[in-house]
């Protein structure tokens, strides 16, 4: 039966994250010279709070908890690299459990050294004409590239560590190069699809946090900014736009949480819900942060005002993960291809057994 309250464990973990993120002085990495490097102190604190695997043995956090964490990371715009890392470690762990020869060694190294796993979705099979991007590639020790056909992973080349390209958000983005030494991740397309679904869900949750925080910033500003002798929040054009932004933020939060819940509780719906969550987050999240920035007038576009960072980052992470139109089409295909006797294709309930009878 519907119960939307996080459990005690979740609340305790989220409380820990709130403290760490509040005290964090960086987003998880620093620019240094012409390149960048990991903020080791923050990274260690984040890892300490996030035992990922093995979930099944009760030692790790559930996937739903990871989605709640992603929401908080998005809201603070700090530690976003943890999202790709968590999804990546889960994929490597899954591969190791399936007998992958290389994954266990990678996991041991990651655990021993606090290594960072970066993801490169939309890999395009390492096509040199469309080289894949990794949002945290510049500080990653291991990188997994994946698309619908499969996933491959490799250790980051020492010569490329720290090599960052400027990007829409303040993220340690790296453009990957086709290289020797990529190992196929055990599990083939199925493992890659699971990784993609988990990654989409976590990113959607993070966008939900970004949308909510941007809406809160704009709401606070609308109460203190006066024009025509009144707080601008009293004007319906502003108030109703912020109400819509709340609607967007609430919707993203619920849909990404439902997808994360389905990962274990309703696995047959997980991939579909992850597509829904991402498609909605990319679209509605962008709308929410755009309006939030608009509320600030010209100040919204100034680097000193944090709302613009949400505007940039929502778009950046969406672009990195996938095409929201394609995600909607993927949902549409599931709906259209459902058996005709189940017109209510998206119901969690049994097929419409009475149709026609």
């Amino acid at each position: 039966m519907i119960d939307l309250s996080p459990g005690e464990l979740e609340l305790s973990v989220l409380d820990g994250f709130a403290r760490v993120l509040r005290d964090a002085e960086t987003q998880g990495w620093r620019r240094e010279g012409g390149g960048c490097r990991l903020d080791d102190g923050l990274w260690r604190r984040l890892l300490d709070l996030t035992p990922v695997m093995p979930e099944v043995e009760g030692q790790g956090l559930s996937f739903l908890t990871l989605a709640l964490i992603a929401d908080r990371l998005g809201a603070e715009l700090k530690g976003l690299l943890l999202i790709d890392h968590l999804a990546g470690v889960r994929a490597l762990t899954g591969a190791a459990e399936s007998g992958d020869a290389s994954a266990p060694a990678a996991l041991r190294q990651i655990e021993a050294q606090g290594g960072v796993v970066g993801l490169a979705p939309r890999a395009g099979a390492l096509d040199p004409r469309t080289p894949p991007l990794s949002l945290s590639g510049a500080i990653a020790d291991w990188i997994i590239v994946f698309d619908a056909a499969g996933a491959r992973f490799a250790a980051q080349s020492p010569s490329r560590r720290g090599e960052v390209v400027g990007n829409l958000a303040d993220l340690p983005v790296q453009v990957l190069e086709p290289a020797e030494g990529w190992a196929e991740l055990q599990g083939g397309p199925a493992a890659a699809r699971m990784l993609a679904a988990e990654h989409r869900t976590l990113v959607a949750a993070a966008i939900g946090g970004m949308a909510r925080r941007a809406m809160e910033l704009a709401t606070a500003y609308a109460k203190e900014r006066f024009q025509f002798g009144q707080a601008i929040g009293s004007f319906q054009a502003i108030a109703h736009g912020l109400a819509d932004a709340k609607l967007h933020a609430d919707g993203i939060e619920l849909l990404s949480q439902e997808a994360a819940w389905a990962r274990n509780a309703a696995p047959e719906r997980f991939e579909l819900l992850s597509q829904m969550a991402f498609a909605h987050a990319a679209h509605a999240g962008a709308a929410a942060v755009k309006f939030a920035m608009h509320v600030f007038g010209g100040y919204g576009a100034m680097p000193d005002f944090p709302v613009q960072a949400y505007f940039r980052t929502v778009r950046a992470v969406s672009l990195a993960v996938g095409d929201c139109r394609e995600a909607r089409r993927a949902v549409g295909r599931v709906v259209i291809q459902a058996p005709p006797e189940t017109p209510f294709a998206l119901s969690a309930s049994p097929a419409l057994e009475v149709a026609g009878g």
């Binding site: 519907i2 939307l4 109460k223 009293s234 108030a239 109703h240 619920l254 709906v335 259209i336 017109p343």
Partner: protein, 387 residues
């Protein structure tokens, strides 16, 4: 956290489907108009599904959610049931024993229906601006004036009537509510037909005399009674009746019936897939926001803001869905049913939804009212000056 409805509620969904299917024809891939709405209501009453005393239980609320969703999807109107339950719940809190005994058993049996008499020609969103006048005359009240958009009055046994009893008092202070038998002499119902095929009504009061025993709450205490009723209308719980997710699901079903008939090329069209995907996402969101409002309401917390968020999304979503899928019909979408052109039942049904769904964005508190509520009470934004 749990996003499932649980086996009891899902089993109930199956029961509801079977009952509705007995009264609905499934033809051409869609459910046709329900043949016997009154029969459905009576059967629901016989099965104990309309038991008002179960209000507040999460299981009952979610059962009412799936019941309403299935009814809407299968084109069973359950006409007047939502208004009836809003009044039933309110009456069980603030009514006299006599009123409860006269009304509530009939509601539970599915034989008594009530229409809401709030809106007037000059009082829509600003319902406290009501002008229908009630004057006391001994043990009776004499009612004069006009109500507007009084849906289901044509099938109702009573009208839940907001009146002005003290024109000199401040706007919210001079109001009183009555539960007036609809067959009272002096009450005239005049139909209004919408472009979407819905019927609503004007109700005229011309010296209608109502016994004081039909007064609900104190004289001039109508706003307090109304506020209780509005909690049910705008709050988190699920009164059985209209369903926003059911409306979107029906539109989705209708579109599917059409596109499957259109063949593989249509199904493989990326634009078609995207339209169905977007509609399916709106359906899922509407359900989730409804779950949340219901869940918060069941925690005995105020759920008016989650309720407003849900209604804002769902009402707009139904409009968007019908527009989007009508667009997919191409020129077929413009042909009116029974007007001499080629007939396609699914297309006609989508066209009816296209014409009918915009009313949902103004009925029972417009989407602007929902936004204002979210902004002022949910986000704490300052109110604009109001008269």
């Amino acid at each position: 956290m749990d996003f499932s409805l649980g086996p009891e509620v899902e089993a109930f969904r199956g029961e509801a489907r079977r009952l509705f299917a007995q009264h609905c024809e499934f033809r051409d891939g869609i459910y046709q108009d329900c043949r016997d709405d009154e029969g459905v209501l009576r059967e629901m009453g016989r099965r104990g599904w309309l038991d008002l005393e179960r209000e507040g239980s999460m299981t009952w609320d979610m059962k009412m959610f799936v019941l309403s969703e299935e009814a809407e999807r299968m084109n069973v109107p359950l006409k007047g049931l939502a208004a009836t339950f809003i009044v039933g719940f309110t009456l069980s809190r603030v009514g006299t024993e006599e009123q409860k005994q006269r009304i509530l058993p009939g509601i539970a049996a599915g034989t008594t229906r009530v229409a809401l008499g709030y809106s007037e020609p000059g009082a829509g969103s600003d319902i406290a601006g009501t002008k229908v006048r009630a004057r006391r005359d001994g043990d009776e009240w004499v009612i004069n004036g006009q109500k507007q958009w009084t849906s289901s009055a044509e099938v109702a046994d009573y009208i839940w009537l907001l009146t002005r009893t003290d024109p000199e008092a401040k706007k919210h202070a001079g109001l009183t509510i009555f539960l007036a038998p609809i067959d009272t002499p002096g009450i005239t119902i005049v139909p209004i037909h919408t472009i979407g095929g819905q019927r609503t009504n004007q109700v005229f009061f011309d010296g209608a005399r109502i016994a004081d025993s039909w007064r609900v709450g104190e004289v001039n205490g109508g706003w307090k009674v109304l506020s209780t009723a509005l909690v049910y209308e705008h709050g988190g719980g699920n009164v059985p009746g209209r369903s926003l997710s059911g409306a979107i699901a029906r539109i989705l079903d209708l579109g599917l019936a059409h596109v499957r008939e259109a063949g593989e090329a249509a199904c493989a069209n990326p634009d078609v897939q995207e339209a169905f995907g977007e509609t399916a996402i709106e359906l899922e969101l509407t359900r989730l926001l409804n779950y949340r409002a219901t869940w918060i309401g069941a925690q005995a917390e105020k759920a008016d803001i989650p309720g407003a968020v849900f209604k804002l999304l769902g009402r707009q979503g139904a409009v968007f869905a019908s527009e989007r899928l009508l667009e997919l019909m191409g020129p077929w979408g413009l042909i009116r049913e029974g007007a001499g052109g080629p007939e396609n039942p699914a297309v006609s049904a989508i066209q009816r939804q296209f014409l009918a769904t915009p009313v949902g964005t103004v009925a029972g508190g417009s989407v602007e009212i929902q936004r204002t509520k979210i902004a002022e009470r949910g986000l704490g934004l300052p109110r604009p000056p109001r008269g």
